[in-house]
Symmetry: C2
Subunit: 346 residues, 2 copies
Amino acid sequence: MAGIADVARAAGVSKATASRALTGSGYVSEPTKARVQEAAAKLGYVASTAAVSLATGKTKNVGVVMPYVNRWFFAEVLDGIQDALLRHGYDLTLYDARPGTEGRVRVFDEFLARKRFDGLIAVGLEPSDNELDRLIAIGRPLVSVVGVSGTTSVIALDDVNAARRATEHLLDLGHTNIAFVGGGVEGGAHVDGIRLEGYEATMADAGLPACHVPSPASLPGGYAASVDLLGDVRRRPTGIVATCDEVAIGAIIAARRLGLPVPSSLSVVGIDNHEYAEMFSLTTLEQSPREQGVHAAELLLQRFRDPDAPVVEMRLQATLIVRNSTAPPAGIPSAAAGVATTRSVP
Amino acid sequence: MAGIADVARAAGVSKATASRALTGSGYVSEPTKARVQEAAAKLGYVASTAAVSLATGKTKNVGVVMPYVNRWFFAEVLDGIQDALLRHGYDLTLYDARPGTEGRVRVFDEFLARKRFDGLIAVGLEPSDNELDRLIAIGRPLVSVVGVSGTTSVIALDDVNAARRATEHLLDLGHTNIAFVGGGVEGGAHVDGIRLEGYEATMADAGLPACHVPSPASLPGGYAASVDLLGDVRRRPTGIVATCDEVAIGAIIAARRLGLPVPSSLSVVGIDNHEYAEMFSLTTLEQSPREQGVHAAELLLQRFRDPDAPVVEMRLQATLIVRNSTAPPAGIPSAAAGVATTRSVP
DNA sequence: TTGTATGCGTTATCAA
DNA sequence: TTGATAACGCATACAA
């Protein structure tokens, strides 16, 4: 509870000098600075954030808005943001804005309006026009990770490219009957649709028919969709491109359940490099949500230093990681199999 | 950027009256209150949190400290806390305190000392003595979810009881050769050790030998440990009690890999009721981390209202959910099998 | 029921 | 290089 007045008194200086000595702004002689700092340490002085904010207009705090905290991608991004902010001495206040909830409305109407932060990071938010307007009306720097288009800085995976390369990986192995599992489901994320388009375009380029199997972007969702798909012998593909690793793993589990060996009878490729991917030997296109979070935080912090910094749009390229869930289809032997143990870079 | 002075001017009253009209404290006539509120709405006035904090000493913010945000249990608790705080108009600032990191030191030394919150919720923190001292030295109400013993309010699952009932479930089905997978690994959580003790005590009560298989509390960890355990025919049990559902699911996947049908050749029971549990037909003892988060938040809010409220220790009882991963062992037919489709309460 | 005046704990401005 | 003093934006005790 010691205030700066106590520190000043203990050090035998004025509040103003004490403040300068502690914040490092303005001229203070070395000896007095040392005296002040020692006094502050002895008293356990910590500046009141409220008073500092009121006086400086800065909160040393960053707001993070995301629709879910308990999903792999979001939790990883959050972890990355947290880590980067911590390093720079910034606090993080979290706003949960699950779509369609009353809470989300309140977040936009009340909570964000309080401006308890110097800037905002929106993760996978997919705001409505109205919500986007409010976000901008706040008048604080905004950086997005996925989900917001247009006027603000954005960091996101190049989804079309990732889906294309996943598809091409299977094409290169000799597959022609390839299905895409994911997206096309109510309440699903926009990215799933984009990845689907990447897959469809690639199949079209190869002159092959596309097959879309809708599925929620979750392990149980991918499992259920894949059981349906693979259970019907007439529709059964030799390769699956999944919209994310959880769906891909669901497909692998479904295949095992149906007695279809992976990869000899079915190849599966995902997008993410989820923490479970290695255990399932899943071939996947790695995106690193954690790094996306770090980038977002650092972009925002840089914006604090230079408010006129240009709006940047950062498109990350996924890295293909080949494991053991993909192989040439049953008919074709091991022509391109040599590739199957390498790990290539973007 | 409109301040209360602008609102007061627009409504033709003093700042004091405007403040009273907006906060609801003190006497204000209905007509003027309405005028003020209308003016505030029109100007889009929102009180500066910094100024309010400085004037009242309250931040309307709660700090949450947890070692991980990207693990199922923690993410669920966080979600519950967030939800409850949102309903009461409180912000949430998050502090990541991963054990053994430099960041954790800074969180305790700098970040928490800033007291940007009216109270603190510690989730699974397992603080050192020194850390616990600091936590208390902050001088703000503290509520813990797991991980802190003693002097503060705590909400936690009754781990011993949960492990005991998981074990008894297998015993009731006729199993005698039951292993416990989980715990006993460096960096593991304290709860795993407690659950292990519950299992061991129950086995001892039944006059049966215990078998402990160390494992990290994760899906890959449980998978690896179970492959080892089940791969050795001489050690192979007919039942597994897992320290959590992720480990249990790892065990199920391992069993399938080894061609051991579940539940006919191996029964597996977990603790959690993880979101994947249903997909794997996992019998488990449900704890609800989300509700634990809600309870913790509400306990803290109540403490704000009544600072002298007694310290409470809330031990939650798990609920047995019987699915299809447990059955009588191969030898014993269907004596107690009728039970296997019911769902019992604590 | 309303207005005036003061304080909350810092930083920032201006003289000294 | 330092010190007195005025903001910062609001809530509140007290006076009217």
